[in-house]
Symmetry: C2
Subunit: 209 residues, 2 copies
Amino acid sequence: MPKDKAVDPRVKRSRRYLQEALVSLIEEKGFDSITVLDLTKRADLNRATFYLHFRDKYDLLEQSMDEMLEQLIHTLAPTGNPEATSFGYNKPFSSIVRLFEHIAEHATFYKVMLGQKGNLGFTSRMLKVLREAFYQRFSLIQSDEEQLLVPKEIVTRYQSAALLGLIMYWLENNMPYSPHYMATQLTRLSLLGPHHASGLSLLYPPDPE
Amino acid sequence: MPKDKAVDPRVKRSRRYLQEALVSLIEEKGFDSITVLDLTKRADLNRATFYLHFRDKYDLLEQSMDEMLEQLIHTLAPTGNPEATSFGYNKPFSSIVRLFEHIAEHATFYKVMLGQKGNLGFTSRMLKVLREAFYQRFSLIQSDEEQLLVPKEIVTRYQSAALLGLIMYWLENNMPYSPHYMATQLTRLSLLGPHHASGLSLLYPPDPE
DNA sequence: TAATTTAAACGACATTATGTTGATTTAGCA
DNA sequence: TGCTAAATCAACATAATGTCGTTTAAATTA
């Protein structure tokens, strides 16, 4: 046995209960009107127990967000698989497919956090994660900065915000399409542009690779 | 003189002070940790006066947002000017230019509300306004629903989120470009798609109109 | 299995923000 | 100038916060 097995199961249990209580209560009444008493009632714990684990409700929120974003970053990291980099009108970027799969796996959390009663802090931090992923990928494909018609910074801002918009739409409507379908739409929009993302535009398609 | 001049100047003054106090305090400490006492101190009013005008701080926020979004909707409404509908790589949509001008005019408000310490409610309501504007415009240009490679709903979600992303970027960086420049970038991204928004892609440009 | 450790429960406390009320002062209006 | 209503002021009950000391219960270790 390696090192840190020293985590009291009672601690893990209490923390998990509180994190679950947080998500369900945000969904019900929004983060602002949640009290510590609400959380501990829902988690079936004493109010004092809360303060053994978290400084206040903001601390609980922070830690919950951090844990999920950690996973998100891991999901977006390059696989090192070379054939995963090819794509086309019907073959989406594999990392985008993985992204939608990750969201689906934690749909409850993301739907609440990105929804109407959700949290702007989470939204903007997630946006930053997506932006940096696009920025890195962009740097690999397009190294000649001077050749750009639109600045790199603006392109990546545009892409990451659009992606988050699609994710929100997908969650709001309870994921009516598969991750692969969503990633395909995104790839088409990226290659053709929203203005020509119709059948008509296929008369003069840009080279997919 | 027509009808409603019946607004006590003291009322207008108090409400304005409180709205200004709200924006500056959100910028400083975030909405959550603002108290009614904070607001009235900043506005140089008695705490009881606050309750003469607003139910609580959420009510104050609501009303401030509503007033600004009202103006935004008005800005986006079609002008009826026929020559304003033409556009190209260097000729942006005129309504988008007007949109950026409106944001610039109220930059303090938008920067705070859409920023890190801002408000998700405002963000999602603004997104909805933009989305509906895109949706309407889309319906005029593209009536044949079946011809679409990507569903209309998805295209408009994509566009509106991307636009809001660019607005946020622009505000965060204290508006380094002109409204016309920003609208031009957006138009290029819309016509070419983010993936080909580089000089290279001009070898096979899609027809701008 | 018994002993030890530590998390969780419980009751209590001072502090702070909330929303409301009644009485008084002050500013706008006719 | 006198009337009306807004703004001020002091006070109140209520509710949430964060902290403490003590007791109970669960997990780990000898």
